[in-house]
Subunit: 203 residues, 2 copies
């Protein structure tokens, strides 16, 4: 099928949301852990993790201010701290359940059945079961005027990961640990490597 | 292992680049097709596709001005048009080879062995072999001052995809077509679905 811009605009709203979100392809499923200034733990799934640079090591997240991610954004603004956690594909149901609109003050950790873990000098909670745990410091919030979304930019403060997953050249072998991948609003995947390539040169 | 910010900064540069890029996780491999004002076709792999919104349907790309993506950025600025193409995992070597620094004026389509395809009223080239072909119009370029990268925002003008991949609710089943996923600078994957979930509600 070929859909023109017009056709997409005229789709039923739920159909269009599912279509465009899933059309944007596969992405890393990341659970963002934060603490409110009142001390409540919060955990929310995002599927918009962006690599911005390696030196300094910067990652971005896209946030929709009107979504369940609202509490996460507020906590990041209030505390300047957050954690990024990747879980195994076997935890996909728990990961998805963090997208429910729990009331502020309710901990998604408790509700979905994942354990909080704390690291020295960092107040935001990690997921104990996570395969990758990254401590982040807020660096910048960039508004995207065209549709009111926000780009949250943070710097990596700490990375916790099993030694066996980090290869000799620095490559992090997430696939062998069956790290969870998402697509669209509700689909979850594991991966199989088809290959690694050498640095590409003109032939 | 636990790496602190300091440890990451002191890593060997190539190791750090591989580590932080791959740490950012899995993402959609997307081949961006453009045409220069001189009429030369260009094709370059990006691994930074971002879903920004469904209505209007907006997608973002992160661009490093000092990279091989430089020609793509210039062509997008000059013509306001580009295409996004997802290929099968069996084409991973061709997809990767588009990251080589070919001279301006050399067509990566020819060099890597993928075919150009043109759609009515759109001058940027698509990949004939692609599973998903999206025509984009440039909407906005947002500079990210912290490290000199750029967020390219475009609106979806047209989507071409086999009917059987679009499910009843609008979900695009990329996994069943073995659409290529990337991680870091050089690793490629296919996916297996672990599940789709209903809209999550508080219990």
């Amino acid at each position: 099928m070929i859909l023109q811009r017009n056709d997409i605009e005229q789709l039923d709203q739920r159909y269009r949301t599912a279509f465009v979100n899933s059309l944007a392809g596969f992405r890393q499923a990341v659970l963002v852990g934060t603490k409110s200034i009142e001390g409540h733990s919060n955990l929310a799934i995002f599927n918009s993790l962006i690599h911005l640079g390696a030196n300094p090591a910067l990652l971005g997240l896209i946030n929709r201010p009107d979504s369940v991610q609202r509490d996460t954004l507020q906590n990041i603004k209030d505390t300047n701290e957050y954690t990024l956690n990747y879980v195994s594909s076997k935890h996909y149901q728990k990961a998805h359940q963090t997208s429910a609109r729990y009331e502020k003050g309710i901990s998604e950790f408790e509700k979905v059945g994942l354990s909080e873990e704390y690291h020295h000098s960092f107040t935001a909670p990690f997921i104990a079961e996570a395969i990758v745990k990254i401590a982040m410091k807020l660096e910048e919030i960039i508004p995207i005027p065209i549709n009111g979304t926000i780009l949250i930019i943070g710097s990596i403060q700490q990375v916790s990961i099993d030694d066996v997953l980090v290869k000799e050249d620095g490559f992090v072998d997430l696939s062998s640990a069956s790290v969870l991948v998402s697509q669209g609003l509700d689909a979850y995947f594991s991966t199989s490597m088809v290959g690694r390539m050498a640095y590409a040169k003109p032939d």
